[in-house]
């Protein structure tokens, strides 16, 4: 299986997609210097500067989530059906390996690659605020959970790629992500005006499709400490069920649910790949 992991890593390196994201991120990290630049240009006190840095860190963590997911989708969506169609797998599978080994090897390869990239980007983010005299640890505390983003998206894309071509598999993965994002961001604020139970059911459905909101909360509690005062505060009044819906608490089972989702998606994909013809 290590051969397959190595091959997948080599392929990922060859795709150069990570270079593109690296360049984009370096550009975006420039933004983290804005608070410093403002302070020097217009003055302002230390507290304002720190709030600026905090926002830059939050923004940077979001970027890392986004780009590592994109990278994982990109590499996973074309891993099975597209490779079968190109004829790569027809020469590999007659070798004495199980199909699940190949599948798992590809999964591991992409995950290692995305994780390595996300870690590198986190280090860059840390460095960019550290050189401004603000060494922060929040991004490191959030990293294990941030890494779950590419795992979540990549696993789903890989499972879809076991029977769909690269473009359709990535399209469906992105659509699942968009649904989860929509449910989390747009259904909550309207809770005051609509039937909360119905909205809640839609949110649950979206979390079945992709537990992104759950994961988002897990990351958030790691970085929330640096939220500027007033940000993300709960409204003080309103019906209790609306309040809870507006700001769902993090539960102990959340991480288990994300883990279970990943395991099941991985299994489903592997079984489909195991049962299909490779031709």
């Amino acid at each position: 299986m290590s051969v397959i992991v190595a091959l997948t890593l080599k392929e990922a390196m060859r795709r150069r997609a990570f270079l593109g994201t690296l360049i984009i991120l370096i550009g975006l990290y420039g933004l983290t210097f804005l608070p410093r630049a403002f302070k020097e240009a217009f003055g302002g006190d230390q507290q304002q500067f720190e709030v600026g840095v905090n926002l830059a860190v939050l923004f940077g963590v979001d970027m890392i989530k986004f780009f590592s997911s994109v990278l994982a989708i990109l590499l996973c969506a074309g891993a099975i059906t597209a490779e079968i169609e190109r004829g790569y797998l027809a020469a590999i599978l007659p070798r004495p390996i199980h199909r699940w080994e190949l599948y798992l090897g590809k999964w591991l390869g992409v995950m290692l690659f995305s994780a390595a990239n996300a870690t590198l980007w986190t280090a860059m983010l840390w460095a960019s605020v550290a050189v401004q005299g603000e060494p922060r640890a929040e991004m490191w505390r959030a990293l294990p959970y941030v890494l779950l983003y590419p795992v979540l998206y990549g696993t789903l894309a890989l499972a879809l790629s076991s029977f769909l071509g690269a473009s359709i598999a990535s399209m469906f993965t992105v659509a699942a992500g968009a649904f989860a994002y929509f449910a989390d961001h747009f259904l909550r604020p309207i809770a005051g005006f609509f039937d909360v139970r119905l909205l809640q059911q839609m949110v649950w459905l979206s979390e079945w499709v992709l537990p992104m909101a759950v994961l988002k909360r897990l990351v958030q509690i790691r970085v929330d400490t640096i939220l500027p005062p007033g940000f993300g505060e709960r409204p003080r009044f309103g019906r209790p069920e609306v309040l809870e819906f507006l700001n769902p608490p993090v539960q102990n089972t959340d991480i288990a649910y994300v883990g279970l989702y990943i395991v099941i998606a991985l299994l489903v994909g592997a079984v489909i790949f195991w049962r299909r013809d490779v031709q």
């Binding site: 051969v3 060859r14 790569y88 599978l93 070798r95 031709q279």
Partner: protein, 309 residues
């Protein structure tokens, strides 16, 4: 023991969105003795590649069974001793020839020292020693097919399955493949090969099976199949019905080509003079006559055409 055995093997492709199912392999029964070079022949779309894909475990049969080296097709134990060159070969072309073979050797669980030695050997065998550090992407089509052959024999397998191994090769390359097949045979390996170049199959195979529409229509030892039969090309001033009738009494088959030319098949070389006599006695004006021993191509065409009539 059979190196390959199939029992009532069947594969039906069903289009996902309705449409007519297509039977690519239809109750195929094959027996390939170990240690032979076996030619697997048939017209385009006969189901050869599909059968091969079932044998190596890439495709699941709809019904029936396939055994490879005594194991169920696709089992790890079978795959360990199997080498395969795909028809539509497409390899990880960002690797160099050497890296590519090293990867396949490791997938085949070869140990480092043996692998290094074998890579030199097989590159030499397929004539790519000088290009070992070139990327496969930079290879010509024929060179890619050669590296595919190298990959198939790398781990010294007991059974080598080659799906059209010479489709992209020049005459020298094709001769090299024949030499490789000979080399494998001398080492007691079984070679199962599918090719449309029948003159080559005739040169290298011991046994053949001809399939059509997913079924075996002829199978046997090449020498027995091509026993003594002769094909006679005849030119007459006029191929009249009387002459054709007279020929039909001697020949097994008479096949008029045009006004003047006829081919006939006789069961034995010794019947050729008798055929000539029959033509003359029927009043035919014989302009030319040439007999040759039946070739595999003749047998193939006759078998497949006879089948579709």
């Amino acid at each position: 023991m059979w190196a390959i055995e199939t029992r009532n093997l069947r594969k039906v492709f069903r289009p996902l969105l309705g449409g007519k199912p297509l039977t690519a392999v239809d109750n195929l029964n094959l027996q390939v003795p170990a240690g032979t070079v076996f030619g697997f022949l048939g017209p385009n779309g006969a189901g050869k590649t599909t059968t091969i894909q079932i044998l190596i475990g890439n495709v699941y049969p709809t019904a029936g069974e396939a055994f490879v080296l005594g194991h169920r097709a696709g089992a790890l134990a079978a795959k360990r001793k199997l080498g395969f060159l795909p028809e539509k070969f497409q390899f990880h072309d960002f690797l160099t020839a050497e890296e590519f073979l090293r990867m396949h050797g490791r997938l085949a669980k070869m140990d480092g020292a043996t692998l290094r030695k074998r890579i030199d050997e097989v590159l030499e065998l397929v004539g790519l020693s000088e290009r070992r550090r070139s990327k496969i992407r930079e290879f010509s089509k024929g060179m890619q097919q050669r590296i595919g052959l190298a990959q198939a024999i790398l781990h010294d397998p007991d059974l080598v399955i080659l799906d059209e191994p010479t489709s992209a090769l020049d005459p020298l390359g094709r001769r090299r493949v024949r030499e490789v097949v000979q080399y494998l045979k001398e080492r007691g390996k079984t070679v199962f090969l599918n090719s449309h170049l029948l003159s080559e199959v005739e040169l290298s195979c011991d046994q053949v099976a001809i399939i059509n529409k997913g079924r075996v229509v002829k199978q046997g030892v090449l020498e027995d199949l091509l026993v003594n039969r002769s094909i006679v090309s005849i030119e007459l001033q006029q191929a009249t019905p009387q002459v054709l009738e007279a020929m039909a009494k001697v020949a097994q088959r008479v096949h008029p080509i045009d006004e003047r030319r006829v081919t006939a098949e006789v069961a034995h070389e010794d019947d050729v003079p008798q055929l000539a006599r029959a033509i003359i006695e029927a009043g035919g004006a014989l302009m030319g006559l040439q007999a040759h021993r039946e070739t595999l191509e003749d047998l193939f065409i006759q078998t497949v055409e006879g089948e579709s009539k």
